[in-house]
Amino acid sequence: MSVSPLTLFAQEVEMADSLRSSGKIYVVVAIVLVILLGLIGYLISLDRKVSRLEKRIPEAKK
């Protein structure tokens, strides 16, 4: 971890430093990413379903 002059100056402000140094922050990142990717994947499948319906009813496309 690089330490900038600004962080040295304000080192007494409490931050989640131990969560970061222990590496457990990556667990949180992984969890949030799984949820986000899951939702994006679901959105893609919805998009495809709508596209399939539009092919069956071609006039519906503007």
């Binding site: 304000a10 949030v32 994006i40 959105l43 893609i44 998009d47 539009e54 009813i57 519906a60």
Partner: protein
């Protein structure tokens, strides 16, 4: 996969904003501490909401100009997603306020303004639901939509700036004044804003397409019945 590049970029920008938002270095500030990272997720909700409402109002004006039902469809779809983003913004703000200000609803001008703006937009949906005639509904709600957007501007952008607010960055600019100095935060914040606007547009476009399909199916059913 033609014309789909912006959907992929929306997904990539949001993935980047989650990784960067949780891992990149942020300024060490008293009171907000680590919750400064909420800026990457809470504030893009409001930017997204305003963008959605702006598109909705644009199509409301277009509808009043040429009475094409496609503009009404766009207007309601974007207003719906705007309201969803606004609700997410207010809920995330309440979670943050509970731990930083001591209570979820602090009566801060930013909170009150946002709540009234959302109520104004709730009325848009109530108005739509209360008019049976389709053409009347489109016309009335288009007029109201323009009023709602005009009411939202002072409620969200002007009044909180005129009074003292405890919201981070207040005292002049109630958005992100105190983070403005930190260019590292901007490198995550702006991609997050663009990502959420694109994501909102994507979901709204799906709403538009299902609206159009429903209309077409109803037409086909009418033909069969006649």
């Amino acid at each position: 996969m033609k014309k789909q590049w912006w959907k992929i970029s929306a997904a990539l920008l949001l993935i980047y904003s989650v990784v960067g938002g949780l891992l990149f270095e942020v300024p060490r500030l008293n009171i907000v501490n680590e919750t400064i990272r909420a800026l990457y997720f809470h504030v893009p909700m409001w930017f997204g909401m305003v963008a959605m409402f702006l598109v909705s109002t644009y199509h409301a004006i277009q509808y009043l100009r040429n009475s094409q039902s496609i503009h009404d469809t766009y207007s309601i779809s974007f207003a719906t997603i705007g309201l969803v983003l606004g609700l997410l913004g207010i809920v995330t703000g309440m979670i943050w306020a509970n731990y930083t200000w001591g209570s979820p609803w602090h009566g801060d001008p930013k909170q009150n303004g946002a709540a009234i703006a959302l109520l104004v937009y709730f009325a848009y949906f109530i108005l739509r639901g209360s008019v049976a005639n389709q053409e009347q509904r489109s016309r009335l709600s288009a007029v109201y939509n323009i009023f709602a957007f005009a009411a939202m501007i002072p409620l969200i952008f002007i009044i909180p700036r005129m009074t003292s607010s405890m919201h981070p960055g207040s005292g002049g600019n109630p958005g992100f004044n105190m983070y403005d100095l930190d260019s590292k935060m901007r490198m995550v914040f702006y991609p997050a804003v663009i990502g959420w606007i694109a994501m909102g547009t994507w979901i709204a476009s799906l709403l538009v397409r299902t609206h159009l399909l429903t209309e077409k199916l109803e037409e086909l059913e009418d033909e069969q019945n006649s």
